[in-house]
Amino acid sequence: MLDIKEVLFDENVCLNLNATTKDEAISEMTKMLYRNQVIEDQKTFIKEIYERESEGITGIGDGIAIPHGRSKTVKKTVIAVGRSNEGIRDWETFDNKPVKCIIMFAIRDVDMSQHIMLLSHVAELLLDEDVIQVLHTAQTSSEIVNVLRKDH
């Protein structure tokens, strides 16, 4: 399998989002992806994210949410991480806890299966208590990269 470093870069990790609502968080993280030249058009990407949101809850519990969008406007498949220390209360979740760590998948429209396998593996890791703990407490982006990289 590919290494997580192929899709998770320090520059796409933000440990102190200003956002306090779901809309603000999605737009703040989209802006980051735009700034880092991952996506070409913010509006299109946000639309894809909300399309997936409309199909079901992405707040998977324990303060973690995994919005994801597959779109032509994505130039390179990446994982972005955003953390809100205050917590986002209007994100629909399975346990009604506020969302504090957002793992966003930006997926290129036509992508190799290897990237998708990597994303799926990361999704599975998000059920691991040790991983969740690090996501909520990490002080640096490299701690986050390392915990998602670890083969559990």
Binding site: G56, I60, S113, I116, L119, A123
Partner: protein, 104 residues
């Protein structure tokens, strides 16, 4: 019990695999054997074998989209739910399945 199942979600990237893991964790915590096939964007993984299906006491389909190969489960007790049900309460689901199957 021997449980087999399939998970599949709309994008086929995240929930398919999270649901699989949740089902297996919950089933094993109740002492069951559980094998899950995923049907995601990249296709079928961990495909169930005819023998595994033959040996299964119950089939759990946690699917939000149309799946392939449902005819393989003909004659088996099939429980069809959405991935959301599993995300919400996997353990509760397994306990419900236990009572349904044991009543038969």
């Amino acid at each position: 019990m021997n449980i087999v199942g399939i998970t599949a979600c709309p994008t086929g990237i995240a929930h398919t695999y999270i649901t699989k893991k949740k089902l297996i964790q919950a089933a094993e915590s109740r002492g069951h054997h559980c094998r899950i096939e995923t049907q995601g964007t990249i296709g079928v993984e961990d495909e169930l074998t005819p023998q595994e299906i033959a040996d299964a006491d119950v089939v759990i389909l946690a699917v939000d989209v149309k799946i392939h190969g449902e005819e393989r489960f003909k004659g088996k007790p099939v429980i069809r739910i959405t991935t959301e049900t599993v995300m919400q309460n996997a353990l509760g689901l397994i306990q419900k399945v236990e009572s349904l199957i044991q009543k038969k």
